[in-house]
Symmetry: C2
Amino acid sequence: MQSPEELTTAFRARGLKVTPQRQLIFRLLAGNDRHPSADVLFATASAAMPGISLRTIYQTLTDLTSMGELRALDVGAGATRFDPNIDDHHHVICDHCGDVRDVYVSGVESLRLLSDADAEAHGIFEIDRTQVVFRGTCSPCRSTR
Amino acid sequence: MQSPEELTTAFRARGLKVTPQRQLIFRLLAGNDRHPSADVLFATASAAMPGISLRTIYQTLTDLTSMGELRALDVGAGATRFDPNIDDHHHVICDHCGDVRDVYVSGVESLRLLSDADAEAHGIFEIDRTQVVFRGTCSPCRSTR
DNA sequence: TGGTTATTCGCAATCTGTGCAGATTGTGGC
DNA sequence: GCCACAATCTGCACAGATTGCGAATAACCA
Ligand SMILES: [Mn+2]
Ligand SMILES: [Mn+2]
Ligand SMILES: [Zn+2]
Ligand SMILES: [Zn+2]
């Protein structure tokens, strides 16, 4: 995601307005590596700006996502998580607490599809992106077991 | 997933009963590589057994999943998809229609985490499983664009 | 400054999935 | 084959996440 300042420019360029609510959300997301859900952002935003609506949070997250500034992540834990890091990276997810961590991975280019049916699938599909997800248990969750 | 016959035995062995509803669901899942959602299964099941409840579909899917006969897949398209293929395999997903195809991939063992923060994350997390998801557009969806 | 147009916000509605309880049915033992 | 009993089925209420809608409001450009 670009900086709050750059986003301000980008929004205006698109005919979108830069409201205090949006600026706050930009700031909350900038450099955030926690992969927050809309709900978590709403809680944080509400502390800084009481009265801000959850609807506005969703609205802005959707806008940023469709602008390509944000990536939506479905980790299979109820709510969608949002990722301002749009670098080519991957994730480690704790199946117990839902913690999501960034990881940079080598060897992704070397992945190869096997067998005929796969080759066919490969030909039939136009692949845009490869996501690697490592699932497991984080240290804190391992302690309390 | 085991065959419907084997599942019958497995269920009885666990003190679970084998009802016509469950048998139907076993049959609908056996060899099914479409990764159906509960909803889709409900529609198909309803055709064969009018009156069957969506609740029963969910119930049986949950049972099969916790028995390890089925894998639940979150593809970020609303509903959970269920996979009777419990081999070590991966998926190609069409971002437009939600089509999910099985692919067998080589090179997964060679994936390596880079950088310090990642190495730390790797040490902190106990990784159980690595999922690779190829995202893109299937041929039919490409035509209609 | 004013007018136009996007945005905000609250609320209803949708969608997916789960909790509950009464009526029903599969099963193992006789 | 019949019984007793536990497991199941179903309908319905409910919860959580997200979206649709519209009236009131606020941003932006001339
Ligand atoms: Mn990330
Ligand atoms: Mn599969
Ligand atoms: Zn954890
Ligand atoms: Zn498609």
